[in-house]
Amino acid sequence: MTETTNEGRLSGVSNFFAGVGNRWRGLPKWQRGIGFLAFVAFLYYLPLLGVPGLTWLRTDSIEGGNNWAGVLFTCAVYVLIALGLNVVIGLAGLLDLGYVGFFAIGAYAVAIFGSTQSPVVKSLQDKFDLAPEWAITWAICIPIAIALAMISGVILGWPTLRLRGDYLAIVTLGFGEIIRIVIRNSTNWSGGPAGIASIPGPQGAPSADNHIFGLIDAKPWYWLALSIVLLVVFLVRRLENSRVGRSWLAVREDEDAAAVMGVNPFKFKMWAFAIGAALGGLSGFLFASRQGFIEPNQFNANLSILFVAMVVVGGSGNMAGAALGAVLLAYLPERFRDFSEYRFLVFGLALVLVMLLRPQGLLPSKRRARELKDRQEEVAVGA
């Protein structure tokens, strides 16, 4: 069979990844298991990285570079975001340009309920005569963050998911901005433009006594984030191969056909949206607890587009691809600092080039690559 035009370009990358992927899938199950375990062990070992020949990877190997474990933590949070957004964009095929909104809701959930300096906690202290150190425990803030993000996802999705796909993009973009403006304007419960400080970690409010989850050593934070990422990978994988995952696939490929076959498109889009939002909230939660301080301008619309770029450049629909995209986009500007001024320019270029030359992304999901190819062949037959 003759190759279509798209296959020729970037074929080096494509063949390399395809070769590795096929070989990997060809291995016996126990070997894959061992390989996976070794990879996970390596991930846990990463912050201590000292193998000669690999130390150049560390961001503190350059002058003025950031703390290596801190960068790894950021990468892990971005991977978590990419996994969540991948459910929405990659699996269900919905373009969400307001993902930063859910991220902000998660971050503000822990700030508003967990920080002793938040206006909400202060008014609760006054009302119930509590000690000035009282605030809602970090662990309880996790379900609050997830629930709030999920609820806002449902509220946003309810009116918009019935619409055509391209309207969704613009409404979500507006949603991300609305969240930021609401937070900025509501000084009496969100701290307004000044933000909220002293956001708790697993060991409570930030203080010099926190030996494990302190402000200086980021390694435990990274290990925590990595563990959550692995858990989420496992859960999303189960979801992908379930009835829900198949329904997403059907809705993405042909909504009308799916509806005829008894899959309710609205219901499953809503599920994808809610699950994506929950993961966005969770990652915002982690981000805020490590930062200790957040303010509304950290959640601008550029970040949303950066998130979309991670998933799309890496390969939407494939968790490994989305994760790769997230790591690349979080890590490269840290390691190559000279280029960090140009990071959004380079990401924009990457987005355009990937879409034009390799729309399935660097590490594509097999099925998605096939869908794109089918469409190309359709037009070839028509012309």
């Binding site: 796909g165 409404v171 901005e177 355009v352 879409m355 469409r375 037009v379």
Partner: protein, 313 residues
């Protein structure tokens, strides 16, 4: 809620909103034209507008505008700014179409891919200007000093408001006539109705698509001039919010419908100014999005209904 201020000077705020809305309407036309024909939200259109403002600034600096010139020079500067802005924006829009969208059309890419490409291009353009021109607000010479042009029913209309509204209305009328009465316009409507049938009837589809991008770009350039006259500054990301609101205006009036873009733009401008007056500008930007969501909920096809193809059916 500052109701006294709003109702005390209702006429004033309405005129202000109409002037603001005229700029939205001109940019909204670009979205509507492209959407009507290609069913594509051209995210890069906001950057087309942004480049227009920088072109206007460049032309003015080149001609040495400093706000002290006489009437003849002011008119010359306005004309030169219009020409420069429209040409720069038109060229950008056509270039975006040639570089990105044409290839995607050949590949029959799904709509998601078009959207993401458009976002990428938008990012590349605005970042290029952010790096080149700096990230701060760039001031422009004040070409026309604000003056009350005339008073009607106790409402003062300033000269810049008058120019903005009249210029926008004239351009909208010209575009409407062009689409509805000329040979090229017929081609545009034909492709919007049914691209394949139009191609069989001998309409050059690629040329029509280039034409709509050019028209959208020219109007965005004109909007850029009016914006520069009215606000007297620009910035690398000036297109982001304005583009979002212009798109909202297009949806509000019925995307794909030229007269709808005018109606939507003016309405949105007025709503925004009212909201800004009521809340001391805090919730101005939220008002636009709330309008968008409410319209999509109750009338997804907009106020006048969508369809460029049936513009004169």
């Amino acid at each position: 809620m500052n109701f006294d201020e709003l109702f005390g000077h209702l006429g004033q705020h309405t005129v202000d909103g109409l002037a603001k809305g005229s700029i939205y309407a001109l940019v909204a036309l670009g979205y509507t034209l492209v959407y009507g024909v290609l069913k594509l939200i051209n995210f890069a259109h906001s950057e087309v507008f942004m480049i227009g403002t920088f072109a206007v600034l460049g032309v003015w600096n080149l001609l040495g505008a400093d706000g002290t010139q006489g009437v003849a020079m002011t008119l010359l500067l306005l004309a030169a700014g219009l020409l420069g802005g429209a040409l720069a924006s038109g060229a950008t829009a056509v270039a975006v179409e040639r570089v990105a969208y044409r290839r995607l059309r050949q590949l029959n890419a799904p709509p998601l891919i078009f959207l993401i490409t458009a976002i990428g291009i938008s990012m590349v353009l605005s970042e290029t200007f952010g790096i080149w021109q700096g990230r701060l607000v760039v001031g422009m010479p004040t070409l026309i000093k604000q003056k009350v042009a005339f008073t009607i029913f106790g409402t003062e209309v300033t000269n810049t408001q008058l120019i903005t509204i009249v210029a926008a209305l004239v351009m909208m009328f010209a575009l409407d006539q062009f689409i509805n009465r000329t040979r090229y316009g017929r081609g545009v409507r034909a492709v919007a109705q049914n691209p394949d049938a139009a191609a069989l009837m001998g309409v050059n589809k690629d040329r029509v698509i280039m034409l709509i991008f050019l028209l959208g770009g020219l109007l965005a350039g004109a909007a850029a001039l009016l914006y520069s006259v009215r606000y007297g500054n620009t910035r690398f990301n000036v297109g982001f919010l304005l583009g979002l609101k212009a798109f909202t205006a297009a949806v509000l009036g019925g995307i794909g419908n030229l007269r709808g873009a005018l109606l939507g733009g003016l309405l949105l401008g007025v709503v925004e100014v009212y909201a800004a007056t009521l809340t001391q500008s805090n919730w101005e930007d939220v008002a636009a999005f709330v309008v968008l969501v409410v319209v999509l909920l109750f009338r997804p096809t907009g106020l006048l209904g969508e369809s460029l193809g049936r513009a004169r059916a």
